[in-house]
């Protein structure tokens, strides 16, 4: 039950993009087409889960015993950057089909602050390794939910007579605002707060 609540908080109640403001660059950057939104989401689910596990192990089994906690920021970002590179190489060699689908999104992921943010949050919240995995998957699926809904709507409003200063990015922000407003309906679900 605790794990279910942790998942639900990460997925809906504290939705990473709409209510926690992490991962906004890809949220606005790759949400104009549904296909790319799905591809990006898949890549994020994969990398976020993997990077959360690795940074958690690194922190608890290397940085803490060696009293190097102050190196957290530097190590985490380097680990994530190299992880993305390795994933890219690995997929290219052993899973070309998957690489074809996710390949172009992998370099973009390095700039996704949600990946690093979730790695930090796992430490700050004192998650166990199981909680870390559940949390990472919840956050990543929440990212996917927001991104896919956003892409579906942006495709629809592509040809709408939106006032000129609002075309493109500003209307996407208005959309995000209204989506976040609707997501406020989940606040308090099972006592989970914002």
């Amino acid at each position: 039950m605790d794990l279910f609540l942790l998942f639900l908080a990460a997925f809906l109640v504290n939705n990473i993009v709409l209510l926690r403001f992490l991962g906004l660059c890809p949220f606005f950057g790759v949400s104009s087409k549904l296909e790319t939104a799905i591809g990006m989401s898949m890549a994020v689910i994969f990398v976020m889960t993997l990077s959360s596990i690795i940074t958690w192990l690194l922190y608890n089994y290397i940085l803490v015993p060696l009293h190097l906690v102050y190196l957290r920021t530097a190590t985490f970002i380097l680990v994530i950057a190299s992880l993305v590179q390795f994933t890219e190489l690995f997929l290219k060699k052993s899973a070309p089909a998957l690489y074809k689908a996710l390949g172009i999104f992998l370099p973009l992921i390095t700039t996704n602050c949600a990946i690093l943010g979730v790695a930090f949050l796992n430490i700050d919240y004192g998650h166990s390794i199981i909680q870390t995995i559940v949390y990472a998957i919840g956050v990543a699926l929440g990212f996917m939910l927001a991104l896919v809904l956003m892409a579906g709507i942006r495709e629809r409003i592509e040809f709408a007579p939106i006032p000129k200063p609002f075309k493109g990015l500003p209307i996407a922000f208005i959309l995000a605002s209204l989506m976040a407003l609707a997501f406020l309906g989940f606040v308090g679900l099972f006592g989970l707060s914002l």
Partner: protein
């Protein structure tokens, strides 16, 4: 000269035009004070990393520059994080995970790579200060708008100054809470973006 300044704020504004550095801009702009805190932290990190990158630009090998930049930036981010936690714990709590996340703020790596690595130390220093102030200005304006409408106060400091009362008692009883909630952040940025487009004549 003035036109140049306006362009820097409006036409090449990282947040409003290029849409980078969005996450901290939205997340910590719930009050003017929080926004200012984040802005000053970014100015510090940006100026110092520009300084070091520029000073060491002759010894940083081309192909290893990005990881080295990241290490330099994260050093100053860690210093900021620890100093803030020690001396301004309330602010550190409000900014939360967004302090260590300054390390992935694209503006900072962008200036290191795009400017400091190719220019002299004084130029890099000024560039860092300038870009940092530009970022701070936007985030401070957004924070001020959200705090004034959403709480009815301006520049209130947790555990300290209770803030200027902008609209008087009637409004203070019923401020537009929406503005300090997440959807309010998105809305304010959308309007500022549209406004900056209108002012620069792009739309």
């Amino acid at each position: 000269m003035f036109r140049h300044f306006v362009n820097g704020i409006l036409k090449e504004n990282p947040v409003l035009v290029l849409a980078i550095g969005l996450c901290p801009t939205l997340a910590v702009s719930t009050s003017a004070y929080n926004a200012l805190g984040m802005g000053v932290a970014v100015i510090f990190v940006l100026t110092m990393s520009n300084l070091i990158v520029s000073a060491a630009r002759k010894v940083i090998p081309q192909n290893l520059r990005i990881p080295i930049f990241i290490i330099i930036i994260s050093t100053f981010v860690t210093i900021t994080d620890y100093v803030m936690k020690a001396y301004l714990p309330e602010l550190a709590k409000n900014l939360g995970v967004f302090v260590p996340l300054i390390v992935v703020n694209c503006i900072i790596l962008g200036r290191a790579e795009g400017f400091a690595y190719k220019h002299s130390v004084p130029a890099a220093l000024l560039d860092g200060l300038g870009s940092g102030i530009g970022f701070t200005l936007v985030i401070f304006i957004i924070g001020s708008i959200r705090e004034i409408l959403g709480a009815g106060t301006w520049m209130s400091i947790p555990g300290g100054f209770e803030g200027f009362k902008v609209f008087g008692e009637g409004f203070l009883n019923y401020p537009v809470l929406f503005m300090i909630l997440p959807p309010g952040g998105f809305l304010v940025i959308a309007f500022l973006m549209a406004l900056s487009r209108k002012l620069t004549g792009e739309a």
